[in-house]
Symmetry: C2
Subunit: 641 residues, 2 copies
C-alpha cells in the first residue's frame, strides 16, 4: 500500500466556487425552504418571504401632535400679544398628543401657548397656521405602501412599523436546517480527560455557534467512529431531514479517512481538495439533492472553510445576501511568505500604534484555536502571491470592529504571567482597554518597538559585561527612539523540574554530567541569554546539554513540556512552575522592564496601565499570589532617552 496514492486535488478557489454554485443551482438550493406565516410579535430576526405592505395608514386618523387645544386656525388670524383672542364653548377642544383631531378643527395650539381664563375659556396671543401640530392621516405611511421588501431580516423597528400599520402576521422563510456530524474514533466529549491521541470534540460546538449566528438552525449529531458503514448510515439519515449536512474531520488523506469514498458512493463529489491554506482537504458533495460538506478536522481550517463555502449558502437559502465584510487598510509589521498556487488566509492581530494600523500574523497553525480567539482580522494572500513585505500596505477583513482595535494596547516582547493579570484588570476598566500580547522574546520586542509596531515591549536582557538589564541593548538597537524604561517586576528564574524533583537536579552541571534532557528558549529571549551566561560561568559547552537545540517560545510552554514528561527540565520563571504544580531550582533573580516610546507615554491607555502598576493594591495582591515576584521598583523609571 503506497499511501502517496491517496491524494486530494488542488482545485483553484474561483473554479471551486463556480462548480459548487452550479451544483447548488442544479438541486434548486437557492429557492430555499418552506414559507410559513407567523405573528409579527414572534418575527424578530426572521426573514420576509414576501414584500410587506401596510394594511392601514399610520397615523390612521388626523391626530394632535402636541398636548394643547384643537382650534379653527381662522379664529386666530388677528391674535397678537397686544390684542389676544378669547375662545370659549365649542370653539376649542382640549387634546393630548395622539388624540384624534375633533371633526372640522384644523389646527392645534400647544399647551405652553394657551392661557386658561376658566375651564371653558382660553386666551391666545399668537395666530395659528393651517394644520399646525397635526399629524395627518398617513403622514408616516399609507395603506398598501411597501414597508419591507422580500428577503429582509426583521429588526425591532420593522416589527413596530408592521404593527403600526395593522400588519399582525408575516410570511417568513424557513431557516436552513444544518446537521453537523463529527467523525473520528479519537474524539472524546468535553469534561473527559484526554489520553494521548484523544481529542476533545469541540469543533461541532464552534461550527453550530457560527451557523446559528448566521440564521441557520444547526444540530450536532453524536460523533461517528472511524467505520465506513456507520458513516454511510449517518449521512443517509442526515440528508433525509436537513437542508445542509456538515461532516467534520475525516477530510484529509490519512489512513482512516473514508468521507470522500462514502460520499462518492452515496452521491456526487463535486470538489475534493481546494488550493487554499488552511482548508485544502475540504469536500463539497451532493447526496440525494442535499449539499454535504466535508470540513477539515483542524478547528481553524474547519471554521475558515465553513466561512468560505457554507456561510453564503445559509444566507442565500433564506433569500438574503451574506453581510458584506468590513475591511481596513493596514501595514504589515513583518514579512510574510506564502506558498504560490494557493489562496492563503492568515489570521492577524491589528494594532493602532501611532498613526499606523499595523497587522501582525497571529500564528499559522491550523489547530491554534487561541490564534483565532485573538485575531482581529483575516489577510488573504491570493494564489499568485509569494507573500508581502514588512511595511507593505494590505487589506484586512475585520473580525472585530475597528473601534475595538483602537482601544487595544499592543504588547510585543518577552512573556510574563503578569501581562495576563494586567490584561484582565484593564479589560474591567471603563472604557475597556484590551491588551494584545505577542510572545516573541525580549529582542523581538525591541525590534517591534523599532518598527513602530508595539506600544510597549516587555524585556529582561542581561548585559553580561555591565550586569545591567536592557539599557545597553536599548542604546544599541533603539538609539534614535525617545523612550522610557519602566520597571514591571523582579522575578525568580531557575530550572523548572518535575514535581518533587525526582531526578534531584541541582543545576546545569547536573544536566551535563548526568545527561538529563533540557528544553531551551529561542534566540533573543532574555531567558536564553541567562541560560547562555550561566553555561559560560560554569564553563559548559552547549553541546554538553541534551535538547539545547529544542526551542520553545514561552515560559509556560517550557513548563508544559516538563509537566508532560517529554523533557526533564527547562529554564523559566517560578510563576510558570507554580502554575503547573512543578518544582523549581532557583538560578537567579532578574529584572523585567517595559520599554515604552515617549510618544505613547501620554496615551490614555498607557496612563491607565501605569496607574494600575503603580498604585493598584488589587494588582499587587494578584501578582504576589503568583509567587516569585518582587514589585519593589514597579512603575519606577529605570532609564530615559
Amino acid at each position: 500500500m503506497n499511501q502517496k496514492d491517496i491524494y486530494v486535488k488542488n482545485m483553484p478557489l474561483p473554479q471551486t466556487i463556480q462548480a459548487w454554485q452550479e451544483a447548488l443551482q442544479k438541486i434548486n438550493f437557492f429557492s430555499g425552504g418552506t414559507v410559513t406565516t407567523i405573528p409579527v410579535d414572534k418575527a424578530l430576526g426572521q426573514v420576509t418571504a414576501t414584500p410587506v405592505f401596510a394594511a392601514h395608514s399610520s397615523p390612521p386618523f388626523n391626530a394632535a401632535a402636541m398636548d394643547g387645544i384643537a382650534v379653527h386656525f381662522g379664529d386666530l388670524a388677528a391674535a397678537s400679544e397686544a390684542s389676544p383672542i378669547r375662545l370659549a364653548g365649542e370653539r376649542f377642544v382640549p387634546v393630548n398628543t395622539g388624540n384624534a383631531l375633533p371633526r372640522n378643527f384644523d389646527a392645534v395650539v400647544m399647551i405652553e401657548d394657551v392661557h386658561y381664563l376658566s375651564e371653558d375659556e382660553v386666551e391666545l396671543s399668537i395666530p395659528a397656521t393651517p394644520w399646525q401640530h397635526i399629524r395627518t392621516i398617513g403622514e408616516d405611511i399609507v395603506t398598501t405602501e411597501l414597508i419591507l421588501p422580500e428577503g429582509h431580516k426583521i429588526r425591532p423597528i420593522d416589527q413596530g412599523a408592521m404593527l403600526a400599520t395593522g400588519v399582525t402576521e408575516v410570511q417568513i422563510k424557513a431557516a436552513p436546517r444544518v446537521k453537523i456530524i463529527p467523525t473520528g474514533s479519537e474524539l472524546i466529549q468535553p469534561g473527559e480527560a484526554p489520553a494521548p491521541g484523544q481529542i476533545i470534540e469541540f469543533n461541532s460546538r464552534i461550527l453550530a455557534g457560527y451557523l446559528n449566528e448566521w440564521g441557520a438552525v444547526a444540530k450536532r449529531a453524536a460523533p461517528v467512529s472511524d467505520d465506513q458503514k456507520k458513516l454511510r448510515q449517518a449521512i443517509q439519515s442526515a440528508v433525509q431531514d436537513n437542508d445542509i449536512v456538515i461532516i467534520n474531520a475525516g477530510a484529509s488523506a490519512g489512513t482512516r479517512d473514508y468521507t470522500a469514498t462514502v460520499l462518492a458512493e452515496l452521491g456526487e463529489v463535486v470538489v475534493h481538495g481546494v488550493a487554499i491554506k488552511p482548508g485544502k482537504p475540504v469536500i463539497l458533495a451532493i447526496v440525494e439533492n442535499t449539499p454535504v460538506i466535508g470540513l477539515p478536522g483542524y478547528p481553524v481550517s474547519a471554521i475558515l472553510t465553513m466561512r468560505l463555502f457554507v456561510q453564503e449558502m445559509v444566507y442565500n437559502f433564506m433569500g438574503m445576501q451574506k453581510p458584506a465584510a468590513q475591511w481596513a487598510t493596514a501595514r504589515m509589521s513583518r514579512p510574510l511568505h506564502s506558498a504560490m498556487g494557493v489562496d492563503e488566509f492568515v489570521r492577524v492581530t491589528l494594532g493602532q500604534v501611532g498613526k499606523e494600523l499595523m497587522a501582525t500574523p497571529a500564528g499559522k497553525g491550523a489547530g491554534a484555536v487561541m490564534s483565532l480567539v485573538r485575531a482581529d482580522g483575516i489577510l488573504t494572500l491570493p494564489a499568485g502571491s509569494e507573500g508581502v513585505g514588512a511595511g507593505e500596505e494590505v487589506q484586512i477583513e475585520l473580525l472585530r470592529p475597528l473601534t475595538d482595535v483602537h482601544s487595544t494596547l499592543v504588547a510585543i516582547g518577552s512573556h510574563d504571567n503578569i501581562i495576563d493579570i494586567l490584561a484582565n484588570q484593564l479589560h474591567k476598566n471603563r472604557p475597556v482597554i484590551r491588551i494584545s500580547s505577542a510572545h516573541v522574546g525580549s529582542m523581538g520586542g525591541i525590534m517591534a518597538i523599532r518598527r513602530g509596531e508595539a506600544h510597549l515591549a516587555g524585556s529582561h536582557l542581561l548585559d553580561e559585561e555591565s550586569g545591567e538589564y536592557n539599557i545597553s541593548f536599548i542604546k544599541r538597537f533603539l538609539p534614535n527612539t525617545a523612550l522610557q524604561l519602566i520597571n514591571l517586576c523582579y522575578r525568580q528564574q531557575g530550572l523548572i523540574v518535575a514535581k518533587g524533583n525526582p531526578l534531584h537536579i541541582r543545576g546545569f552541571q547536573d544536566i551535563a554530567d548526568r545527561n538529563f534532557s533540557f528544553i531551551n528558549r529561542q534566540n533573543g529571549a532574555g531567558t536564553r541569554l541567562l541560560t547562555d551566561k550561566t553555561l559560560r560561568d560554569l564553563d559548559l559547552n552547549p553541546t554538553a546539554i541534551t535538547g539545547y537545540e529544542h526551542e520553545e517560545y514561552t515560559h509556560m510552554s517550557v513548563a508544559a513540556a516538563v509537566a508532560c514528561g517529554s523533557v526533564d527540565c527547562g529554564m523559566g520563571i517560578l510563576a510558570a512552575a507554580n502554575a503547573l504544580g512543578l518544582d523549581f531550582v532557583p538560578v537567579a533573580e532578574e529584572r523585567y522592564d517595559l520599554i515604552i516610546p515617549e510618544q505613547f507615554i501620554s496615551d490614555e491607555k498607557i496612563k491607565t496601565l501605569l496607574d494600575l502598576i503603580r498604585s493598584s493594591s488589587k494588582f499587587q495582591e494578584l501578582v504576589e499570589r503568583l509567587g516569585g515576584y518582587s514589585l519593589r521598583d514597579s512603575g519606577k523609571v529605570m532609564y530615559e532617552q
Copy 2:
C-alpha cells in the same frame, strides 16, 4: 386649572447623564446581578463574570501535525535523492494528523515524502529537522494561561477555546431583567382595528426587541390604563423582581400623565425633562433601589431616549462596555435648522452618490416609525448649534453598515407606486440593491440631481407651452449636467373620490360650483402643475377651490385623506385610488420619466435597474396589476444632453 403649570424641566444632556450615573452608583447598579455557573456548551452570547484560565494545555500532548510517519530525525541526517535511507521495524511509526507522537520519536515526515517499499519498510530521500511537523504540547495555549478576560461576551470560537483547554463550565453574569409597562387608556392590541383616538400598542414590542438584542431579558407587562392607582400598583410590583423598569408613554405633560407624580410618591425622580429633541419629557427615577425610566409615548422618541439612557445601563450591568458607535463622514444634502438649547437627534438617510456620501434628513416627526425603518444613521446637532448648512460636512452615527449604504440607489423626486415594485425586485437581486426613495415632488428631484444628491429622479413636469414633459425643465435647471431622460411609464391622473363617487364629482368645475373640499399637492409637484394647468384651462381661480392651500406630499397621502373622509377629493394617480379601493375621475394621461446623470448610467446598480425596466416580464406583470399604467415607452431614452 392652568395646564401651563404642569411642565417639565429642560436639563441639559451632559448634566442629565451625570446625575443619572450618580443615582445609579448610589444604588450599586453597576455591581450587576447574580453570578451563575453554566456549561460552556450553553454559554454562547453570555458574559464572563470572572477571567477564564486554561485547565489543561492545547494540544495536551505532542501531536503529529501531518499525516505521515514518526521518525528519529537523526536517522535521516544523510538522506538524499542520490542515496535514500531505508527505515524498517521500530524506526518508524505511521501517524495521522492529531495522533500523539509515539514516545522518543522527534520528527514527522509527511506522507507525500514517504515511499513505502512494503508495509514494514519505507524509503526516504530528504533529511528531517528536529521536531518538524509536530505540534508540541501547549503550542496553542498552556494550562493556567488567560483565555478570556472578565466581562467578555462569549463567541463560538471562545467556546471552542475553553473546551479545547478543558474548561467545561464558566461563570457568567446574569442579564438585567427589564419590565416594560405600556400606559394609556387609548392603547389597543395589534390586530384590533383602531377607532379614532385609539393607538395600537406596538412600542413595547420594539423596546423589548432592542433590549433583548443588547443582552437584557425584557418582558412586557399588560398595558395600564390612565389610572394613578393602577399605575402605582404596576410599578410597585415591577420593581420587586426586575433590575430595570420602563414605563412607556405618559411622560409628557398632558392632562392624563401621572407617571412623574406617581414616581415622586414612590421614590426619587432624578430627572424629569431633558433638553433633547425628540425625547424631552423623559423621566429618570429610582424606586426601591431600582431604576425606573419613563419613556415618551412617540415611538421614535421612546427608541432614541432608550438608546441614550438605557442601552449603556444594560451593558454596564453585565460589566461590559456598550459597543462603540460606528461613524461616517457625510455631506448634508440640504440645510437643517435646529432649535438652540437642545441636543437634537435627526434621522438621516445616506447615499453614496458619486464620490460624496450625502446625508438627507429622513423626516422629523417623532411618531414616524417608517422614518426610522428607512434611516441609515443619526445626526446629532448639539445644544449650541443653530443647524447645518447644505454641503456642510457632518458626522453620522451609523444604524446600518456603510457597505449597505454603498449598495443603495438614491431616488429623490416624484413618487410613483412603481418605485415600490422596483425596490422590491431589486432587493431580490444578488448582490442586493436597495432603493432609498424620498418623495419631494418632481421639482425637488431635479434640484436633488443638481446638488449631486441622487442617482435618479422621477419627474412628470408638464411644460404648458410645448405640451412636452420634463425636457424644458431640465434645460432650464440642469443646463450643465450630462444626463439621460428615460421613460418609466405613462399613467392616468385624475380626481380621487370616495368609493362609488357618492357626491357625483365630475371634475374641477364641480368642486368650485358645489363647494366640495379638495386636498392639494405641494409646489413643485408635477401633479400640482397639472392641477394648476387644468384650473387655468377651465378659467377657475384657485381661491374658488376649498382646501387648495392644504398640501400633501404623495399620491398615497392624498388618497388616504379621501379614504378617511377628511376631504371630498384630491388629484392623484389611478394606482393610488385603486390601492385604497377608491373611485377615480380621469383628468389626463401624463408621462413619468427618470432623470439619470450620465455619470451613473454605467453604474452597476443603474444598469440592473434599467435591465429590469426594459426586459423583466415579472416587473411588467406587477405594474399592470396596479392599473392605470402604460409601459409602451418604458426604458426608452426620451432625451439626452
